[in-house]
Symmetry: C2
Subunit: 119 residues, 2 copies
DNA sequence: GGTACATTTGAGCACATGTTCAAATGATGG
DNA sequence: CCATCATTTGAACATGTGCTCAAATGTACC
């Protein structure tokens, strides 16, 4: 809990720019956006999205692929699904997951461009 | 440490699809990608990027804007800078930060579309 | 040099997060 | 109904993470 209304000395504080920025922040879904990126910000989840980008896979395929337990995969898939990044299709005992949204591939692709650009 | 080479029963294991997925994963910078998204996945950092998207701001402006200490902002800016998301410009005692890369705005925008699409 | 102020850095701490294991649920086929 | 297998769910735990505070660094101006 802080109320830093005097972080800078008053002379150097520029209210106009800060106010403009504040409006920018207010009309942007900052929290949901951070939530979304947080979901994407895990190697297992990024790996899952990459893996199923070329076709659906079931939970145990993914567990095998990333050397973790089915439980771990299931936990992550639940998160991904809650954020509408993947969708499930049941076939008998198995459940197949695939990408849910075109934005996902776009985000991954744009992110890849950024990290590759840094050499 | 797990070696789950037998997560599924052998009959239901489909080597071709998994192998295809594995190649997909291998030729994708999964870890750096996850790192990038992890950096974006925090409300303060997403807020900073949004705030400076309309023009540079100094550390104490940002601290004021988000009601945290300059120290906290500085820590986050260091992270953002390490991932080439922001760049710094010194002017006297103050340091102004602005977006470093066009990809950043693109990612934010695409992410916004996704979260807004969910109603 | 010395003071003032903005920023950075480091230590410490409260809290979130990803994993595993084990138990529960769902579905198929005797 | 019972057995089997895939998945899901819950509890527990080790590890990360983001914040604050305090000290250090950098810059300007006297």
């Amino acid at each position: 809990m802080v109320a830093p209304s005097d972080v800078c000395s008053e002379k150097l504080f520029r209210p106009e720019e800060v106010e403009r920025a504040r409006e920018m922040v207010e009309q942007t879904p900052v929290d949901p956006l951070a939530e979304l990126f947080k979901v994407l910000g895990d190697r297992t989840r990024t790996g899952i999205l990459t893996a199923i980008s070329s076709g659906e896979l079931c939970v145990c395929d993914l567990a095998e692929l990333f050397s973790v337990t089915p439980g771990a995969i299931s936990h992550q898939l639940r998160l991904l699904k809650a954020h509408r990044l993947v969708k499930a299709r049941r076939e008998g005992k198995m459940v197949f997951y695939s990408l849910d949204d075109d934005h996902v591939a776009g985000l991954m692709s744009m992110g890849s461009d950024h990290v590759k650009e840094g050499r």
